[in-house]
């Protein structure tokens, strides 16, 4: 692990934020598409 001295906290905080926020956005997208697909499937089943 590299030593960034005084800058370590800032460099790692930025990097973690840069990973965490896209992960949250991916989770939001996956959940949204799953829920809407499940609703459509339910509607189709009710039609049948």
């Amino acid at each position: 692990m590299p030593e960034y001295g005084d800058d370590a906290f800032y460099v790692w905080s930025v990097t973690i934020a840069g990973l965490l926020l896209p992960i949250l956005m991916i989770a939001y997208s996956v959940i949204k598409v799953r829920l809407s697909k499940a609703r459509l499937d339910r509607m189709k089943q009710e039609e049948d």
Partner: protein, 255 residues
């Protein structure tokens, strides 16, 4: 390509394959950019030593939030002129991802600024042309989503939101020139890659070193692919929702 994908059925077939590929490539490219940016490239003393490694996260998110707004305005324009439904679906999907990347740009910039400038963005924002114009961009994304949610019918919401998105596009060049042409109004450093109206932004011979630029481009490419995957997922979600709404309307009519 775009006209081919303008058909919703073709888009659904294409995106089923494109989402996992775009996602996997995006993750690999971001990983490569961060590995090199954090562990391989030497620190740049002119940009604060090791602190400059924050740019491998901050700069791609800053480029992407402007690019996503341009895409939102472009999709809104296509819907407004040609009334193409998939363009409206795309605009609706771009907005939350654009807002997320603008928030990421703010968060990472604020942490970087805390050390680099001695004060976080939250202490500087009111008097600074770059920070204020990015804040306006964030509110434009939020305003777009709020407007869509507030109006009763889908057509009214799409029309009002498209007008907002197109007018708001004027803010994108303002963000760009705020650090190049109005340097006295911002604490933010000038552009290091493409500078408008300021050919020597950081003194003679101080352009960005190619080893840093390469990592920035890997990171930007990776985040762009990741954003594309998320936007396609949200577009698929919107198509499913519209299909379910139509099925529900038919059912209610028949009842």
């Amino acid at each position: 390509m775009l006209s081919y994908l303008a058909n919703p059925l073709r888009f659904m077939r294409f995106s089923r394959v494109a989402v996992p590929i775009s996602f996997a490539l995006g993750v690999l490219m971001i990983g490569w950019s961060l590995y090199n940016g954090l562990f391989v490239v030497p620190p740049d003393e002119a940009q604060g030593g090791d602190l400059m490694r924050a740019m491998f996260t901050h700069v791609p998110s800053a480029w992407l939030c402007m690019g996503l707004y341009a895409a939102l305005a472009g999709a809104s324009f296509v819907w407004f002129i040609w009334r193409h439904e998939l363009a409206d679906v795309a605009a609706r999907a771009i907005a939350p991802i654009g807002a997320g990347y603008t928030a990421l740009c703010f968060i990472t910039g604020s942490i970087w600024g805390q050390k680099g400038w001695g004060a976080g963005w939250h202490n500087l924002i009111l008097g600074d042309s770059r920070l204020m114009s990015v804040l306006v961009l964030f509110f434009l994304f939020l305003g777009y989503m709020a407007l869509r949610a507030a109006l009763e019918t889908r057509q009214k919401a799409a029309r009002a939101a498209a007008i907002l998105a197109m007018i708001g596009f004027v803010n994108v060049p303002i963000i760009k020139v705020s650090v190049d042409m109005w340097q006295t109004t911002t604490i933010h450093q000038p552009s290091s890659v493409i500078s408008i109206g300021n050919p020597e932004p950081r003194g003679e011979g101080s352009g960005m070193n190619i080893v840093y630029l390469q990592q920035l481009l890997w990171g930007f490419g990776g985040h762009s692919l990741l954003a594309a995957a998320m936007i396609m997922m949200l577009m698929r979600s919107e198509v499913y929702t519209q299909q379910a709404d139509r099925a529900l309307a038919l059912k209610l009519e028949g009842a």
